[in-house]
């Protein structure tokens, strides 16, 4: 690689814009400009110097800020497309066919297209993830590409800069001091700037004052944070890092916790509380009469003893008793249990009376526990009821056979065979809610419905996400970096006293020129420096012919 040798004798790597030692502009572009481009302090950037191999070309592509911005915008647009219609995980159908029908039926042909293009599950699509991945690569490459040369040039700063560098800064001043002894000027400048918390270095008749250099590292720190965050998101794919299961537990029931070996959870009680306010205007607008106040499941978490047989609910030790509420998950050893759903009043037990139709006389009660239906219910040695069939969610007959839609007892139906002293052969009856069919004609007895016992069911989700600490770390580093980069700025002042005692000054800040100028005002007054000018002021607002010179900064 060709080195660029500056007039001052300093050897600069190819691609350097401003000499690393004296600051002289080295490129034609820099020489032509009125205000020099101070990005990365004019250091040579890998992507701007090498462009031969494929690796160089890929590197250069991803290191470009323009490409980075384009990727941000593309990601932004892709993300927004996903909000046009609800994503698949927010609609309550499960199979592919149902989804296709749902989108077409609800949103018409646009919805159909949306589904068919895969936009209804955009965030898990390969191309969306590729886009995010490309953005991540761009962040890494651009940070290395620019961060290292910037760090080098900031570390090796010389105090004295060449006139051609100084004059091409945005804020400059040149001339004799306004009053006092010019021999003291540099000391006065140093004194004042030290008071303003600058680090001041002097070399002969030149002075460099610098403050908040670490602010230049803010962007690189936040990029590191982002990369840690994105990596942590991908950790989810590692087996065992991430558990996301859901379970239903009925009141009084104990179940093995999916994804959490050796643990059992018992639902003691599910509680639903409602607000007792009068419906507000918003509620009326939304057609909501009552608003829920609390969803709560009181649970007991058990752990199996070490030597127990896996999956068997015996030999349990109570670990925790807790009331799981929304916003208050039960947490244990990295696992969390969330209150997610509920179902009220699921039928648990149905109570019947074996009744003589004519007299209304009862021979005894039969109580069918739907979670554990018996084959036969014996009342006495002459009287019993056999359960020939149980259909938890009766949906009608098919070929004369009763059908059940689901195993959930939403609409229980039974076929009973009633054996009584009068009918030792037994009478068969089909009993469903508000429906009785007697296949053999007129029975003498019936199973009269007496009462029903219900219970609630809680839907819990079980989560474990071992990537959380890494996410937190990435997020924290990002926030620190972004705060450093935003709330602090790197200010520099170069002052040189020429042979005749006149002063040449140049100032640079990466952000917040207003604050820089305040410092300049203070030091100008204190050390009686010549008035500074902002060379960018006359570049802007050329559109307005009748503009009054500078405008008033107080307005």
């Amino acid at each position: 690689m060709d080195k660029i040798i500056c007039v001052c004798g300093h050897e600069n790597p190819a691609g350097t814009k401003l000499c690393g030692k004296c600051g002289r502009p080295l490129t034609e572009e820099a020489k032509q400009s009125k205000i020099v481009d101070m990005k990365y302090d004019g250091a040579a950037i890998r992507s701007k110097t090498r462009n031969k191999s494929i690796v160089d070309k890929i590197w250069n592509f991803f290191s470009s800020v323009k490409v980075g911005i384009a990727l941000i915008i593309i990601n932004l647009i892709a993300a927004s497309i996903g909000t046009i219609f609800p994503q698949e995980f927010y609609i309550s159908v499960s199979t592919e066919e149902e989804k296709a029908i749902y989108y077409e039926k609800t949103y018409g042909s646009l919805g159909k297209l949306y589904y068919e293009l895969g936009l209804s599950d955009i965030y898990s699509s390969w191309w969306f993830q590729v886009l995010v991945g490309m953005l991540a690569i761009s962040i890494i490459v651009a940070s290395i590409d620019r961060g290292i040369p910037l760090h080098r040039s900031l570390k090796n700063q010389r105090v004295k800069r060449h006139e051609s560098f100084m004059k091409r800064q945005r804020v400059i001043s040149e001339g004799p001091i306004t009053e006092g002894d010019s021999a003291k000027t540099l000391s006065l400048v140093e004194e004042k700037l030290k008071k303003l918390k600058y680090k001041v270095r002097r070399e002969g008749n030149a002075l460099l004052a610098e403050r908040g250099r670490f602010a230049r590292y803010g962007p690189y720190i936040n990029h590191v944070g982002l990369i840690i965050f994105l990596t942590a998101v991908m950790l989810r794919l590692v087996p065992g890092f991430y558990v996301d299961e859901s379970m239903w537990v009925r009141e009084g029931e104990m179940r093995a916790v999916p994804g959490m070996e050796g643990y059992f959870i018992e639902n003691e009680e599910f509680i639903l509380e409602l607000h007792d306010n009068e419906a507000t205007e918003n509620q009326e607008l939304q057609g909501v009469n009552v608003v829920a106040k609390n969803y709560q499941t009181n649970v007991k978490l058990y752990k199996q003893a070490e030597d127990a047989i896996p999956g068997k609910a015996d030999n349990l030790e109570l670990v925790k008793e807790y009331s799981i509420k929304v916003n208050h998950p039960l947490q244990h050893e990295g696992y969390s249990f969330y209150q997610m759903d509920f179902r009220l009043n699921e039928i648990k037990t149905m109570n019947f009376e074996l009744t003589n139709k004519a007299t209304g006389e009862s021979l005894g009660a039969v109580s069918v526990d739907l979670t554990n239906p018996q084959d036969e219910y014996v009342i006495d040695d002459q009287t019993k009821v056999e359960l020939l069939g149980y259909y938890p969610d009766f949906s009608g007959f098919e070929n004369g056979e009763p059908q059940t839609a689901t195993p959930t007892p939403n609409n229980p139906a039974f076929i009973f065979k009633m054996t009584t002293p009068e009918n030792p052969e037994g009478e068969v009856s089909f009993v469903a809610i508000q429906q009785t069919i007697e296949p053999n004609g007129d029975n003498e007895y019936k199973m009269a419905f007496n009462s029903v016992e219900t219970r609630n069911m809680s839907g819990l989700t079980v989560h474990k996400d071992s990537s959380i600490p890494w996410l937190a770390l990435g997020g924290a580093i990002f926030m620190i970096g972004v705060a450093i980069g935003s709330y602090w700025n790197h200010r520099r002042l170069w002052v040189e006293q020429l042979e005749d005692g006149t002063i040449r000054l140049a100032a640079h800040t990466n952000k917040n020129w207003f604050g820089m100028k305040k410092d300049l005002d203070a030091v100008t007054e204190y050390a009686h420096l010549p008035k500074y000018i902002d060379q960018s002021d006359d570049e802007k607002d050329d559109e307005d012919e009748e503009k009054e010179k500078e405008g008033d900064s107080t307005l």
Binding site: A79, T280, K293, V482
Partner: protein
Amino acid sequence: MSLIDISGNLLFAAFIAYLVGTLLFGGAIKSSKPDGAVTRADKWGKLALIVTIIGFLAHIGYFITRWIYKGHAPVSNMFEFTTAFGMFIIAAFILIYYMYRLTALGLVALPVAILIIGYAAMFPNDVDPLVPSLQSYWLTIHVITAAMGQSILAISAVAGLLYLLKSINPKKKSKSRFWMEAVLYFGVLVVGFILATLIFKGFGYEADFTFIDTKDAEAKITYNMPAVFGMNDYTLLTDDVMEPLVEMPAVINAKKLTTVFWAFIFGTVIYLLVRLVARRRILDMLHPLVQKVNLNLLDEVGYRSVLIGFPVFTLGALVFAMIWAQEAWGRYWGWDPKEVWALITWLFYAAYLHLRLSKGWEGKKSAWLAVIGFAIILFNLIVVNLVIAGLHSYAA
């Protein structure tokens, strides 16, 4: 007078103070005659700021009294959040004012806040009960930080608008003149929405309908404006009111469409009247007011507001949001529309900050970006809350 009434009156007082403040800021800026104008401008400016601060204190008073009355931060429905947003915009303005002493910002910041509060007041201001997922101290932390971030970012749009008001030549035909006038027209549409709502409410307009919703179930709806668009398969139940002109499919909420329609009609009529009376563009009327502002400084204020607001927004709208989501639902990110739009806002301002590194993306271009950023924030506030259904949706 109960606490909630006091609260309402304080909000009203703040609103009036902001109106007066706007006029005073106008006075402060306008006086440019050489008859000791600088001192007069100074006096007007100081007075304007005092009135603004009084208004802000009343606004905080509203917020605190409502907080005490409800027992939790009043940021849980559209009315509350939007009024709080207006309050934080004023706060951000005062903050930036004390950093830069830029009086002219008030001329745009106050009207923006006024429109936002006016818009908020069109929503029911009842105290709504909190659903279980909102019963968390994270509601306070997350929403208030996010709103603060958005408000500081909004100040960059305020500076951007001022920049554009000054730098766009109203006499010369250009794309930027067209779009700037379009932005001002949008402001007038908000006034149109407020006026339409108030007028029809004043007449007590009500029309009940039944209709068939997307789930093929019959539902009821009450229009408070003459129904231009009818809901899917509607039946009008009220006598002597307008029959809808067009029937909409179930997926479109024709009631909201009707509201948008009337806001559009009222806003456009106002706009045309203004144009007819003044015989000038609104831009043309505002342009002379801001002649004395320094563009370089405005550019910097715009950039600085993004720098200050971006970390706050990230913290409130993403970091705290994720922590809360993890606690409430067990997943820190769920691609809920509001989440996605917070991410979009964040990405947009990230692009803004990176564009400032490229040459030429300062000044006018940067000002336009700031205005677009604010448009995204408003989109997230209005469209995502009211139209796109999701966890944050205030619509049923």
